[in-house]
Subunit: 761 residues, 2 copies
Amino acid sequence: MKEYLKHHEWQIIEEGLDPHYNKISESVFSIGNGRMGQRANFEEEYSGETLRGSYVAGVYYPDKTRVGWWKNGYPEYFAKVLNAPNWIGIHISIENQKLDLAKCKVEDFTRILDMKTGLLSRSFVATFADGKKVRVESKRFCSMAHGEIGAIRYAITPLNFSGKAFLSIYVDADVVNKDSNYDEKFWEEVYKAASEGKAIVTAQTKKTFFHVTTGMRYVVESEGKKVNYGRINIEQREKFAGNIIQVDLVEGKELVVYKYAAILSSENHPKDQLVAACNKVLDEAFTKKFDKLFEEHAKVWEHKWEECDITIEGDIAAQQGIRFNIFQLTQTYTGEDERLNIGPKGFTGEKYGGSTYWDTEAYCLPFYLSTSEPKVARNLLIYRYKHLEKAIENAKKLGFKDGAAFYPFVTMNGEECHNEWEITFEEIHRTSAMAYAMRDYVEYTGDKNYFTEFGLEVLIGIARFWAQRVNFSAEKNKYVILGVTGPNEYENNVNNNWYTNYLGAWTLRFAQQAIDYVKSADSKRFGEIVSKTNFKEQEETSKWKEIVEKMYYPLDEKRGIILQQDGFMDKEILRVSELKKEDRPINQKWSWDRILRSCFIKQADVLQGIFLFEDDFDIETIRKNYDFYEPLTVHESSLSPCVHVILASKLGYKSSAYDLYLRTARLDLDDYNNDTEEGCHITSMAGTWMSVVKGFGGMRIREGKLYFNPFIPDQWKSYSFRIEFRGRVLKIKVSKDGVETKLESGAPLTIDVKGESVELK
Amino acid sequence: MKEYLKHHEWQIIEEGLDPHYNKISESVFSIGNGRMGQRANFEEEYSGETLRGSYVAGVYYPDKTRVGWWKNGYPEYFAKVLNAPNWIGIHISIENQKLDLAKCKVEDFTRILDMKTGLLSRSFVATFADGKKVRVESKRFCSMAHGEIGAIRYAITPLNFSGKAFLSIYVDADVVNKDSNYDEKFWEEVYKAASEGKAIVTAQTKKTFFHVTTGMRYVVESEGKKVNYGRINIEQREKFAGNIIQVDLVEGKELVVYKYAAILSSENHPKDQLVAACNKVLDEAFTKKFDKLFEEHAKVWEHKWEECDITIEGDIAAQQGIRFNIFQLTQTYTGEDERLNIGPKGFTGEKYGGSTYWDTEAYCLPFYLSTSEPKVARNLLIYRYKHLEKAIENAKKLGFKDGAAFYPFVTMNGEECHNEWEITFEEIHRTSAMAYAMRDYVEYTGDKNYFTEFGLEVLIGIARFWAQRVNFSAEKNKYVILGVTGPNEYENNVNNNWYTNYLGAWTLRFAQQAIDYVKSADSKRFGEIVSKTNFKEQEETSKWKEIVEKMYYPLDEKRGIILQQDGFMDKEILRVSELKKEDRPINQKWSWDRILRSCFIKQADVLQGIFLFEDDFDIETIRKNYDFYEPLTVHESSLSPCVHVILASKLGYKSSAYDLYLRTARLDLDDYNNDTEEGCHITSMAGTWMSVVKGFGGMRIREGKLYFNPFIPDQWKSYSFRIEFRGRVLKIKVSKDGVETKLESGAPLTIDVKGESVELK
């Protein structure tokens, strides 16, 4: 865990440039707008450690799977989040000396991300080898108001000299993916043009043939007026277009480059109209100018914060943490485009590839349900509905049949694109995350019609998968599920992972409920579904029922707890507190076999099940399981702490809940898991939001009614959050003195606060 | 299973060229001499499906590990068996038409491998597009008498024309490995020279810097006289040197190219003397000429066959099968060089990389023990003794300490170079194959001094590994071994694989026996070992004893059988006979998870343990386990059938034993597992030998005494084999009428045949 960034309620602040931390900061200070995003790379050249990253939503590359030993059934490719063309570059050279913070002496360096307005600022004083000093101040944002516009204000002031400088201002599609399996570049040039003040490059991805057109216009000003350029070179190289201009620097006078970028993709424009559209966007941006664009952008953020801010009084680290999570989530996914989803690194890094994991359903959905109009969450469900056919194909490849649907672990277009057998083939619980998300959605919104319209088809497919995936153990006289990986990925190929068995059986019951509903609500539509899915209702559902009745659940009678999987108690049972510091994180220190046979748990597994199906268990059962499993948990997945915060809160374990909250809220800010340089943990950020609202706030929905059972950590004075619920907006404020609930808009509503009914008007 | 090759007692015969089978034949018809080997590629150009392969013993390349998701502890590289420079090439061109069997019309094609003399012959008539017809007859061998010499006689006869032809005769180091992880070429040029009739290329491997010098001299003759070349071009390209000569073809007259190759490696010569040495070898070969070289070569084979032939009367397929196995084994490893070992594909393909698997100890050792002087087997043991330090390093990387030794699953130089975690990290039983080999060796030879000189150090290291690898299960009140892969690699990461637990505990007992022996035989040396290994005898051995006493063994009480691993009976128990044909082999048809959770067994697992420790079990236990497990076994490892032949023989299951024998003996000849195109299954060939000698012959050693308990399959008239044993040579012949035993040389000996003592003089 690092403590490198300053605590501040609304800003992330880095003071001083530490090259070892630069890649971490590049991740943390990333900006985006749901359509595109940009790591906090420098505009100028930088020869130090850096991970350059620009990303355009929906644009990916199916990189041929790299694996030592091919196992039958592997997907052909691993979908890479593509590093898109560079639109931020502004290179400076003064008397043949490049401005490069790895080579100049750097003083007064600050990098600030203002979360309130989504603005990244940076300033520093750099001294060249010959003693010349310049001050640089840069600001940039990806417009939330115009999803295809990025804008930069880059100001340079010579402090102890006057003289000529060369500025290279460009767009560049000759970029690499660090994680390219075969060191291949994924972009090919389609078009380029450059003229004075302007450059455009259209590049196309290999194999997937996405086109991305990246354009820029710029102007250089001094004291508000365009300066004269001494010389202009129009630069064109392969996949690259720009200008090199010569300008006069005058000691003490600020010279400002305004660079406006337009980033357009063939996902949103016909390919043959991309360049024209790009020109239009560029002209718009250039005409509006930086300040006006920023004003519009900041206004959107103001509105977003009104919708989903959480305030915490009395604990700046916690306040900064939660805002950082909400900020990143909001700029990753806006819910406007049902073709998009929430990548695990959002627009902050390449790692993990793909865009969609079960994280979306299990972690992100609740955030969007409570902070956006229902359409946003519904779009996330429909995304999976659209992938149903691919999920059926995916199941077929693995030997399933008759319409069984096995959703991929990682996907871009519905196809599986991850290739560790122990995950891809065996971490099967993810296919039921789609069912659970439906339950969540319908409970929250009351929109049961979703079953009729879309949901039931998906549920039939998933239920069929489970009915085929179990097998009957003559030995146990029960149905068992062999060879799986549970949510705790520090176990592979285990038998009867309780979470998986429980979820599988629940899915069969839930599918039955959905059938019953649709049958009674719209028998015609039910008939259509039966015929479309070739559903043999009687035969299939009676099999489901039998499986549910005879499902095997591993238990430890002696300890009165659920068993994570068969044989778990054969392990040497140690606590995480007994581990030496140098052994942590175990996934970076121990060989895989050692991790597998240890008792240590990566992320909630039994407790994940208890979290999802809380009301199925009495409080003592929850306590016993929590008391046994949490101490074995290393929380080396970003998805782990939030679940534990929520359960600890329920159990009244205030101080554990608070500690775990800080861990989830500040996971990236403090680089807990030593991996933030690869990107931020976007999907788990929704878990942070849940930690406050469902954890400390104790929010639950039961049969359409809202319940709150809040407590406040000792370290805090108060906290408040805002909830959208069935057409209302509620504000909840919790302080040492009590709970304030307020209906900000919508029809009157009765809620439950700490066991008492409260009527809100 | 294919039936493509003709049955013959001493020859492998292919009639007609089927391009689909060409790669299989290239493997089957491979030739070698322990120092080098060559697939049965064509001398002339071939644009059809082919896997070009020349191999030089001990020369490898550490190819950077390719894996999608790196797991901590993985070895950095996977050692590749290198495709070495091509020495066979003779390209023919007639009027701008290349002789290429993929393009010409081919008639009368035959390929014959004469196993008696180690000679590969090929003949065919090819018709060019313009109607010109030529007959070609080629013969070649890798000299068993001169390990660095290969010789080719290539004869071409124009059948319906006279005219000019161009012959390109060359050596070429610009070769690729098909399995190169990054499509890289592994050879770099160091030296080349070409002159009339001669060419030499020295190439060096990247990273490992092995030098291989490949030279050739040739002469073209007609009617026994050198012909005049019309034109000679000396050809030199990168890594390539040769001549192109113009010759006159006269209708009906045979033109013969004699090409002599010398293949020398820096493993056997100082690098700066390689070229000189190559010249010398070339001159020797050129002077001796083809016929003389062949005579010397055939003489060595004659001697080899005297030593290790097995004859079978009345069953040509079986006779051909066993000879093919003995032939390949003999040309792969001669036992003369203790730096070498037996690669799983020998000199017949690249697949699997590395040179040394546990196959050597578990399968090959018995063959060499019985057919060679004891030095050969001892060299195989010393090979591992020399790798002890690396095995200790390897264990350290995985978190073991205090001198625990974990031998690699695959190695070239003692380092692990395989990278599936489920094998590399978890298939731990292989480390005890080194201990079992010692037991085998000492029992066979009586040479207990091996413990004192080398063995004990290894045993202490391995025993320490087991003592650390177990853990105490409070739940079971037993020591357990979690997270392993047994010999049956269709199970991964299982708990308490019985074979592994049994072998681990046996190793601890065996190490104790060795300690007791060395202590009493040579206390001074024992003191040295104690101090060298920092052995805390009292403390360590008492821990070993405790583990042995409290080791857990999974059993199925109800069925009275051993359990392959915990939870095995939860599977759906099916028999292989219930599988559909289109599901076989399951490793090519089913996804990995499906294989893992099925009951199907790749190769002997419980039965492997019973095979190794036969005398620990009564016959009824053996029968019950065989009856249960064999029907679940798909034998998709080449190492599987032989173990079953031996047990089936013991149990009197004659017809099963015979069927399984054919499967192992003709595995590659009939391409049972659909993978012979990648190379032959060399190490399992020793298992075929065991099938006859230990299976049908029922040979055992117990306390220094030889036992035979033979039976004869109904299909056979008789079979006979020859055994070296403690300075004697015995011949055993089994026919319907009875058993003949004969002492061919050495001191008198009492053996046991079918329970009766027989004195041999």
